[in-house]
């Protein structure tokens, strides 16, 4: 497997690192405190490819806590709110876009 440090990583805008939590699969985001959060609002934002490479490398080092880490785009709204940068990340962050069959509580 290619080391994340050697992977060609090029970002074109603000980005974050996301993965799934190992024990339950929940969507998580890498934080600036070198941990993980289930909230996109807590995600560390990187703006250069070098920063992205470093953040991804740190994320991949936590093989027990998270799986499948990758870099994904975000939008930074006026006021600093972080929003997913594409539909896939929107669905991962906000949940299904469909109506489910009614399941009794």
């Amino acid at each position: 497997m290619t080391s994340p440090l050697q992977q060609k990583i090029k970002i074109t805008g603000p980005s974050m690192v996301t993965a799934n939590r190992t024990w339950d699969g929940v969507v998580i985001y890498r934080t600036a405190q070198k941990g993980w959060s289930a909230s996109l609002a807590d995600a560390a934002i990187v703006r250069t490819s070098d920063e992205a490479r470093t953040l991804l490398s740190e994320a991949n080092a936590d093989d027990v806590g998270a799986i499948g880490a990758y870099i994904a785009p975000v939008e930074i709204k006026d006021g600093g709110a972080i929003k997913p940068g594409n539909l896939r990340e929107h669905i991962r962050s906000e949940g299904l876009t469909i109506d489910l069959l009614p399941v009794p509580a």
């Binding site: 699969g25 969507v27 991962r92 299904l96 876009t97 469909i98 489910l100 399941v103």
Partner: protein, 551 residues
Amino acid sequence: MYAYDELDRTLINERVSEFRDQVKRRLSGELTEDEFKMLRLQNGVYLQLHAYMFRVAIPYGTLSSKQMRAFARVARKYDRGYGHFTTRQNIQFNWIKLAELPDALADLAEVGIHAMQTSGNNMRNVTSDQWAGVAPGEVEDPRIWSEILRQHTTLHPEFSFLPRKFKIAITASEHDRAAIKIHDIGLRLLKNADGETGFEVLVGGGLGRTPFIGKTIKPFVHGRDILSYVEAILRVYNQYGRRDNIYKARIKILVHELGIEKFAKEVEEEWKQMSDGALTLDYSVVEEVRSRFSYPAYEKLPHMPDELKQAAHDPLFERWRKNSVFPHKVQGYSIVTLSLKPVGGPPGDATADQMDAVADLADRYSFGEIRVGHEQNLCLPHVAKRDLPQLWKALERIGLATPNVNLVTDIIACPGLDYCSLANARSIPIAQELTRRFANHDTADLIGRLHINISGCINACGHHHVGHIGILGVEKNGDEFYQITIGGRADEGAQMGTLIGPAVPYAEVADVIEDIVEAYLALRDRPEELFVDTVKRLGVEPFKERVYATR
């Protein structure tokens, strides 16, 4: 139903213990994800967008009421209260926690259910006709042979690390409900001139990035030779199949590149060396497997009971009966399809409560047996005709009596971008919008048989290539677009649909499908001419013109 023996039960239970230990080691960090990934995949555990997805096999689509209740328990206890029936007679749970998966597997093992080989580069769940054993005119029950193949290939070391996944489907009826022509190996059970049971063997079918219809490699292989012949095919594939390129690794590519004649010659050479060996099926072995299938003690019942005559006055019942009830091989009984395609619902989904209710209805009306078809619907295979009115009322109460089987709203759809990590575009919302557009049952009846298949990416889990109308989601500059094909079919006359033109954006898909259907209604030469036959007669041009003239 097939009754597992001690060997089967031991195998399943050992597998649960093994996986429990693997999960424990993964969560402790003793196993890395790289080391664990193949192990979880061999137990049907994928990582999807939001969570782990757990795929469980329903061999040849046959389930007992007990097993269905176990699915309901898993859905309720470990998931979010529902499950999704797939196009290959599996059920998927979308929200399961890795830490709880061993317990879920153990619960399923108690009723003889497992997830072995529902993923990975091995022999997948052997699928069959959901009407197996009850369809009128069937040569014989194809599940006997499905089970023999299942037993032989499960955990077979030679076939656990194939170049790519490998799928077999078997039918025993003239009308193919198992889509055998789009499988790696398709088997059609038949009798030769001497009345001996055997198979027409097809090879190299498949969809995905490079779709092919399976080709007949041998028109008749005697039943006693089917294991050795299938094994010969697998050996040739194992030897020559490409492992350097995932997109060229399926057997269909090998068959295409070698040509069917050369491929057949290779198989024949291989088979010569083993055709009279240990894999030749002794009659007693086949009979032993046959004896482990139990069949209902059918009563002698009238063809047209009074209960049915009375209920026929209710137009809603009649609409459902004409749509969802099919002839059975035994007089006085019917096969009933339970639509998992309610208007506005996700195709193929069932809640835990519905699963429990179906299990109860199976006990009351279908000798405790349920079937699952590749069209993502359920089926009660042994319903006495006198019970149909009561069954219909019960199905109405649980939302499983939508009279849309084989109609425009009986849509096959993959989970798409709402769940799947491979998808480029959403499938389910497109299906839901279409079911709302065509919600009027009179309109759907007027249109007649029309299969719409939707895939959220080129991997084609929604079998879009063979839909009468196929919809394939693609991504263009971050937006969802959809390619439309028409004229495909998955039955005995299987063929790929033809692309009608440039992809259309998400918001326009339902309008485009409405245009195509309206064009068909105007173009068909009589009400009985099916959509797919009109396309065959006229080609795609008139439809293309209708769709793109104003776009």
